[in-house]
Structure formats: structure tokens, C-alpha cells
């Protein structure tokens, strides 16, 4: 068990040369089961404490440990030693004294992970005649985050995320197909199993019997999972750090219109459609909703304390560490979203297809991490979809790429659906959401 007092004590008696210091202590416990054929096939449990430290003398340095026997003062000294080796004389600013303690919410009875898993498995096995096997993963993650600094700041909160995912194997005419989908919430009882089933069936049916297709510019409907997939990388254009460096495709556009008038993009600390919540960031900054795009106008950016100072904006509670997949532990404080999503509109999927009338419904995309350039905004994303005629689904098409620029894509949104979907980033450090979006025109390339 972590002894918070020894960390607090170290901050109260810093060595003379260290002007200020901070600990961010993250404790994560996770329990997971995988179920197939009503049997639990895999079971996992973890209990990890991570300690991030920063110390400032003339400059700011960082250190990280999972070694619980390392003395707190030694971790601070290590961070300070690192600070002495850097050239830049900018100090990181720490938040001033403040206290916040958020106890775990009163979570309703969870029932049994296993029961929810086999219910979802049964639902999926009956949802489509081609589905032969299902693997369901049920997971509960408990995260507690504490930020302590030498100015007397002491904040902590705890959250619990309940997560259900399903992967199906289907066979049709001798060909095999795989589809997966996941939802999270504060409790399993709040997860809509029917929604998981409908999404999987929709994506499965869009894979059958693909036909040839002619490249060109088409009106499109991007499924909510496609826009989420794009934003999972594209959010970086809204980073205050990248904006300031000039390495964002929208650098210099603050206050300008960069998207269509029906586009609102917000970053919030919590949302009813996910179990994730971010009461404060890793610097201890609390913030409410930030409207990044309001009717297409870029009104603000995602900021930590340092980038906010540089841009003369307010910190927005977006100090984070895990932005992208990395083979190392990221310790420097950068900018990450909390729950960033496109606000939903009024139209359900059927209405959007009717409005589309003739065009392409892009049902699935993959590998956007490698196919979006944040500086130029250019993208080229592999995907598959379904041709729409008279507002109805017709032939499926595959091995497509959609290409263009992110700013054109945001400007060409003509309607947003009511089907908001929020997905966790793989490292569980933020969430991205979007409803299905109708795009005036989009370049589609096909073989």
C-alpha cells in the first residue's frame, strides 16, 4: 500500500537548492475476464502504482519510478539532477495551493462480470445467422490519481470504468469475417448490449460480397466509428503546444472559421456515455467544458499550464502524458484531451442515409495512426463501405482509401447524427467521441 505521508513529508522538507517539486501518484487496479462458449478462457488482474515527479531549481526536471522502495526524496533529487543537465531555462509553473478529494462514486451493484459477458455472447450468437463464435471481454479498471506539490496542493480522485467488448467470427459462403466493438460505462448495467450487437451486425453485413467501385468524389456518410478513428489521431491539431510550434494544420487560425457551421467540438471532464472521468489533470488543474469549435469557429485550444502561459490562454485541464502509443513511459507533461467529442445532432442513422440519398456510407476505417499528417492536415485512410442509392444500402465495397485534408473534411460536414459514440484511447489516458457525420463530398479511391 502506498504511504502518501512519506511523499508529503519529502515535499515539505526539500533540499535547499530545490525551489519546488511535485508528485503525481497513479494507482491502477484492473480485473478482466474473457468468455467464449460460456467458459472463462482468460482471467487477469493487476495492481500497479506509478510515481511521476518533477523538481525545479533554476530549471525543471522529471523522474519516474515503479520501485516502491525508492525513497521519495531520492526521486525528487533524480528529477532535480536531470533539470541541471538541460539548456532551456524555462521553468514549469506549478499550481498553487488547493485541495480536492473526490471519493469513489456510489456505484450501483455490479452483478457478476461473467453474467454480463455471457448475456452479450448469447445476444450476439442470436443476432445474425452467420455468426459462429464470440469472444467477450469484461473489464473493471479502478484508477486513483493524486497530485501533491510543495505549494501545498493536494488533490485526489478515483474512478471506476466498466468495459465490455465483443469480437465475433462469422462465416458466409466459405469466407470468414471478424468484427469487434466495445462500450464503457460507470457500471455494467448502464452498458447497452443491444447497441454493441447492432453495431457489430451493421459492420459485419457491410463486409459481405464486395463489388468493384470507381474512384471519384462522392457525398459520404462517415460512420461514428470512422470519425472517432480519425479524431483519435487528428485531435493533435487542437494541441496548444503544436499550435504554438506551427506544427498543427490550423496554426494561426484561432478565432477563424475552420469547420462547418453545424460543427461543435467540445472537451469535457466526464460524460454519461463513458465510465471515464478526468476531474483534474496531472498538474492538478480542474476545468469544466471547453468548446474548442463553436459553429465551426476555433475558439480555444487544449492547454496545460506551460502552453497556456505561452499562448496567453487559461489552462484547460489538458496536461497529460500518454498521447500516442509509445514503447517507453512518457514522463514529460504535454497536452492530451480528456473526453473530446463532436456534439451530436438530431438525425438518426436512417435519417442521415435518407439525406445522403446517393453516395457512400463509409462503415469502417483502419490504421489512421499512420495515415494523417498533423502539420499539413493531409490524410489518406484505408476503409470499406456500402453504396447508397435512394437512401438505401446496396452493394458493399472494400479496399478503398478516403483522402483529403482535415480542414476540408471539417468544412464539408453538413449534418451530424444523434448516435454519439465515445471510445477510450488504447492507453486509457483520454477518450474520443463522434456521431455519424454527413460529408458534402470526399475523395474515394478504389482498385
Amino acid at each position: 500500500m502506498i504511504e502518501i505521508n512519506k511523499y508529503r513529508k519529502a515535499l515539505q522538507s526539500l533540499p535547499a537548492e530545490i525551489l519546488e517539486a511535485e508528485f503525481n501518484i497513479e494507482k491502477n487496479t484492473s480485473q478482466m475476464i474473457k468468455v467464449s462458449g460460456k467458459e472463462i478462457t482468460d482471467n487477469a488482474y493487476s495492481d500497479i502504482v506509478e510515481i511521476f515527479a518533477r523538481a525545479t531549481g533554476a530549471k525543471t526536471g522529471f523522474a519516474y519510478t515503479q520501485d516502491l522502495e525508492e525513497a521519495p526524496v531520492e526521486i525528487i533529487k533524480r528529477a532535480y539532477h536531470n533539470s541541471k543537465e538541460i539548456d532551456e531555462f524555462n521553468k514549469n509553473r506549478l499550481n498553487k495551493k488547493g485541495e480536492l478529494f473526490i471519493a469513489p462514486e456510489n456505484i450501483p451493484a455490479q452483478g457478476d462480470m461473467y453474467q454480463y459477458a455471457i448475456s452479450l455472447e448469447a445476444l450476439l450468437l442470436n443476432s445474425h445467422p452467420t455468426i459462429e463464435a464470440v469472444i467477450v471481454e469484461a473489464r473493471i479498471d479502478n484508477t486513483s490519481s493524486r497530485v501533491l506539490n510543495s505549494h501545498g496542493l493536494d488533490k485526489s480522485y478515483e474512478r471506476e470504468v466498466h468495459y465490455l467488448s465483443a469480437h465475433i467470427l462469422a462465416k458466409k459462403d466459405g469466407k470468414a469475417y471478424n468484427v469487434g466493438f466495445a462500450l464503457s460505462s460507470k457500471s455494467f448495467s448502464e452498458i447497452n448490449l443491444e447497441e454493441i450487437s447492432l453495431q457489430i451486425v451493421n459492420q459485419l453485413e457491410s463486409q459481405f460480397d464486395p463489388v468493384g467501385f470507381e474512384s471519384g468524389i462522392y457525398p459520404c456518410l462517415l460512420d461514428r466509428t470512422v470519425m472517432v478513428n480519425i479524431l483519435m489521431t487528428a485531435w493533435q491539431i487542437f494541441s496548444g503546444i503544436k499550435y504554438q510550434e506551427g506544427s498543427s494544420a490550423i496554426s494561426g487560425k484561432l478565432g477563424h472559421t475552420i469547420g462547418s457551421s453545424c460543427l461543435n467540438l467540445v472537451d469535457v471532464p466526464e460524460h454519461k456515455l463513458t465510465g471515464y472521468s478526468f476531474k483534474f489533470d496531472c498538474e492538478g488543474t480542474e476545468a469544466d467544458q471547453n468548446k474548442i469549435l463553436h459553429k465551426g469557429v476555433l475558439t480555444t485550444l487544449l492547454n496545460n499550464l506551460k502552453s497556456a502561459d505561452s499562448l496567453k490562454q487559461s489552462p484547460s485541464g489538458n496536461a497529460g502524458r500518454y498521447a500516442l502509443l509509445s514503447g517507453t513511459i512518457p514522463t514529460d507533461i504535454i497536452v492530451t484531451p480528456r473526453i473530446l467529442y463532436i456534439e451530436p445532432g438530431e438525425n438518426n442513422l436512417d435519417h442521415l442515409l435518407k439525406i445522403l440519398d446517393h453516395g457512400v456510407y463509409i462503415t469502417e476505417s483502419y490504421d489512421v495512426f499512420h495515415s494523417i499528417n498533423i502539420a499539413s492536415g493531409g490524410f489518406s485512410i484505408p476503409c470499406r463501405g456500402t453504396v447508397i442509392r435512394d437512401g438505401k444500402k446496396t452493394e458493399n465495397i472494400t479496399e478503398l482509401t478516403i483522402s483529403g485534408s482535415l480542414t476540408d473534411l471539417l468544412n464539408n460536414i453538413v449534418a451530424t447524427g444523434s448516435d454519439l459514440y465515445i471510445e477510450e484511447f488504447l492507453k486509457k489516458s483520454y477518450c474520443i467521441g463522434s456521431p455519424s457525420t454527413l460529408i458534402k463530398e470526399l475523395q474515394i479511391n478504389a482498385g
Binding site: 488482474y45 526536471g61 519516474y64 516502491l68 532551456e88 483502419y366 502539420a375
Partner: protein, 461 residues
């Protein structure tokens, strides 16, 4: 060693107390250093210390994995007890007094200069040298960041069969991230100079300067690059890093993780023709000097060479311990994981296409129209794969003409590897990178001689 060997027997006794038939303890102690240099100024230095323990239990075809970074005796026994509860059952195994034996193979990557013995200043000088040199190459560079990493991972693996293995894996890397502009548009990209070595990776200055020049010239080529009208054309893949094609198009599908889940087109294809007869594909974790090499896999077995496809015939899969139970096949020393926070699963190491007999120049000169892929970026695997092209060129009348932009390759791997119509004579390795999958990010290389596919879809404009 992080945990006293005497505690091990207690952990195994607890872990197997409910009927598990196999248990493994994975201990990790790892140090990492990162130095960030922005425009020639060192802006950040971070040291990280990773330390923890994973306990893995198998009972027939069921698995349990638990992990913690509290390495006190009581916490480890509590964690083992939790794992035993998950595996279920009530059978009480006889107490064990295990004696651990291992042949402790040497890591194929020899270390000459331990990174921890080198001062921060020497490492900072390398970064500043690379940035200064990059700026000297072209005035259109808008911004450059260079980040130095070194890692020193020590692992120990004990299992209930009495087997013991250990390995020490050291690597050094610099990531260059640059933004260029012609005053109208901006392009940015990054690339890694990765070596499974200590500081000797930087002893020959020309090596890392060549890397800088290659990266910057590749990035600058984007300014004059032209869009490509999507089409199905012959595609020539350059030797070296284009081996990523094999990694994504069929490597992941040859891992037992995909085979047991029936999410691979190679299920049931052993002994059958799955590729052109020019294709011999190998995964080998023993090769000195390569990033995917190690003394043992992350389940303690000495690494080995595995032939996956031989002259177009499917010969084998990459199989971890659990996969071997589920497939009823022998494991192939392919159990890998990023760290103790992941259970092991079947993964690639150094995956490569064996050399062939074809002339490298003829592959291009014989084409009226096609695409030459010089360098690939990252991608995703599965029945359908996709890979971004970092550098691609148009082939017209047997010659490389224009640099192309925005190319993406996607398709069904098992269909495309049947269309390999040329494989060159010269093998070219690559520096390596991380591969991400269910057991985290693992170091790999993927390489090949120059190779041609007779016809495939290339996505562009």
C-alpha cells in the same frame, strides 16, 4: 535479482494450490533514459525505473495473468493467491521444492559500451551534432527535434517445471522529428535511428549522419511529390524496410494468437501452397545485430529460427506456450511481451523474406508502368492489412520518374503473396521498430531483398 529465490517456491506453491498445471514468474527491472533536444537546446531529461512481477498460470487451456509492482513477500504471495483463486478448482497440489535450472544462452547482441557508463554530455553532443548537420542540409527545414533513448531491461523467468532463464536487453535510439516548409505547405514526419547496442551505436559519426541525411532528403521529397491516381499496378518493393509488407500482410496472421481465434486466412493451410513459389519467409530471433533478437523469448525458451513459408508452402506458425496447448503443436520460442504488465503471446522477432534469384534492376526496367516503394511507414495487419508509404515513386517506361505522395497499400495478404513474381539476390536488413499487439510494443525488424508483386491496388488521390 529482484526477488529472493527462496520466495519462489512459496509463490509456486500458492499459485498452483487450486489445480493449475503450470505457473511462471516473470521479473523485470528496467532503466530508461530520455534526452530531448529541440532546435539545438536540451529541453528535457527523464530517467524512468520500471520494476515488477507477473505471475502466469495455466490449467489445461485456460490462462490467468496477474501482476504487481509491490515486490514485498506478502504482496507477491497475495498476488499468487489471487491468481490461484481465478484459475478455480479445489485440487490441492503437493508442496513443491523446486530447483531452478537454466542453460542461460548469451544474448546475440553484444554490448561494448554500457549506456550508463557514458555521461549525459556525450549523449547531448550526439543530438546537437545531428540537428546542426540536418540544418546544414537544406534551408527549408522549419523545426527539428531529436530525442535520445537508451534502455536497459533485465528479466528473469522461473517456471514450475524448474526452468530458469534470464536476459539483459540493451538498446539505443535517436528519434528525429522534423517539419519542413516551402513557404506554402508544411510537412512533418519522424524516423528512428535504432540499434540493439550500447553507446557504441554512435561511435562512427558517419553512420548517424547518413541516417540524418536520408531522413531529411526523404522528407524534402514531399514538397515536389505529386498525387497518384489510385490504380492496380505492378509494385516493386525496395530491399530493407519494405519487409514491413510481410509483417502486416501475413506475419500477424501466422501468430498462434490469430490462428486459435480463427481470425487468420492461414487456418488449416499447413502444408498447402499459400504464396508464390518464390516466397520463403522466416522469423528468427537469434540473429546478431538485429533489434528483434534476444537470448530467450519472454517465456524463457532460447530464441530460434522458424521457417514460416518455404517456396510458397506454409510450414509453420509462431507459437507461444498457451498457443501450443490450444493448437496441440510445439511452441516455437515466440512468446513475447513489452513488460511484466502484459501476459506473453505469440509475436514476431526478425521477420524476413529469403533472397531469390532475380535481377534487382530488371524488376523496374521491365515495367511500362508501376509503382516503386522505397520506404514503408507503419501499418496494421489482419485478414486485410494496410500500410502507409513513406516514399514512393512512379515507374514509367522502365524508369523511376516522379515522387508520389499520399500512397496507402491495403488488401488481403493471402491473395497478394501469391502474386510475387520477382525476388532479388541481395538481402537488406533494417534498423527496426516497435510492433504493437495484445502483449504491448515489442522490438522487431522486418526486411527483405527487393521484391515485386505483379499487380496490386495502390490507393492515392
Amino acid at each position: 535479482m529482484s526477488v529472493d529465490k527462496r520466495i519462489m517456491c512459496d509463490i509456486f506453491r500458492t499459485a498452483l494450490s487450486t489445480g493449475g498445471d503450470f505457473a511462471e514468474v516473470f521479473l523485470e527491472d528496467k532503466d530508461e533514459l530520455r534526452i530531448n533536444c529541440d532546435e539545438g537546446l536540451v529541453t528535457g531529461i527523464t530517467t524512468t525505473r520500471i520494476k515488477g512481477c507477473g505471475i502466469y498460470i495455466l490449467k489445461n487451456k485456460k490462462s490467468v495473468y496477474v501482476y504487481t509492482n509491490d515486490l514485498s513477500r506478502s504482496a507477491l504471495l497475495r498476488t499468487a493467491k489471487r491468481a490461484a483463486e481465478f484459475i478455480g478448482g479445489s485440487k490441492e497440489n503437493a508442496p513443491m521444492d523446486l530447483i531452478f535450472n537454466g542453460n542461460e544462452p548469451m544474448n546475440p547482441n553484444k554490448i561494448v559500451i554500457m549506456p550508463s557508463s557514458v555521461s549525459y554530455n556525450q549523449k547531448k553532443d550526439i543530438l546537437k551534432d545531428m540537428i546542426t548537420y540536418a540544418y546544414s542540409l537544406d534551408s527549408r527545414i522549419a523545426h527539428i527535434q531529436a530525442t535520445y533513448f537508451d534502455t536497459d531491461q533485465r528479466i528473469e523467468i522461473f517456471n514450475s517445471l524448474g526452468s530458469y532463464g534470464q536476459d539483459r536487453r540493451i538498446s539505443s535510439k535517436v528519434r528525429l522529428h522534423a517539419t519542413i516548409t516551402d513557404g506554402i505547405s508544411y510537412h512533418d514526419d519522424w524516423e528512428d535511428y535504432t540499434r540493439p547496442q550500447g553507446f557504441e551505436a554512435f561511435q562512427t559519426r558517419q553512420d548517424y549522419l547518413d541516417f540524418v541525411a536520408q531522413f531529411i532528403h526523404g522528407l524534402l521529397g514531399n514538397i515536389s511529390a505529386v498525387p497518384f491516381e489510385s490504380a492496380s499496378v505492378p509494385v516493386v518493393f525496395e530491399g530493407g524496410n519494405c519487409g514491413t509488407f510481410w509483417h502486416e500482410a501475413c506475419g500477424h496472421q501466422l501468430e498462434s494468437y490469430a490462428i486459435v481465434r480463427n481470425s487468420s486466412d492461414f487456418v488449416g493451410m499447413l502444408g498447402k501452397r499459400v504464396a508464390s513459389e518464390k516466397v520463403t519467409l522466416v522469423d528468427d530471433g537469434t540473429i546478431p545485430g538485429l533489434y528483434g533478437s534476444a537470448a530467450i523469448d519472454d517465456e524463457g525458451s532460447p530464441t530460434r529460427r522458424n521457417v514460416l513459408i518455404e517456396n510458397g508452402i506454409l510450414k509453420g506458425y509462431m507459437i507461444d506456450r498457451l498457443g501450443s496447448r490450444l493448437l496441440n503443436m510445439a511452441p516455437t520460442a515466440s512468446g513475447r511481451r513489452q513488460s511484466y504488465t502484459f501476459p506473453p503471446t505469440s509475436r514476431m522477432t526478425n521477420t524476413f523474406l529469403e533472397t531469390g534469384e532475380d535481377d534487382e534492376r530488371e524488376m523496374i526496367s521491365s515495367l511500362e508502368k508501376g509503382v516503386f516503394v522505397k520506404k514503408l511507414g507503419g501499418g496494421t495487419g489482419g485478414r486485410e492489412f494496410s500500410i502507409a508509404v513513406k516514399e514512393g515513386f512512379l515507374i514509367e517506361a522502365g524508369k523511376l520518374t516522379k515522387r508520389l505522395k499520399g500512397l496507402v497499400l491495403n488488401g488481403r495478404g493471402i491473395d497478394l503473396i501469391k502474386k510475387v513474381d520477382r525476388v532479388g539476390k541481395v538481402q537488406v536488413t533494417e534498423g527496426g521498430s516497435f510492433c504493437g499487439a495484445s502483449s504491448g510494443l515489442c522490438p522487431v525488424t522486418s526486411y527483405q531483398p527487393r521484391m515485386r508483386i505483379s499487380n496490386m491496388f495502390v490507393g492515392g488521390k
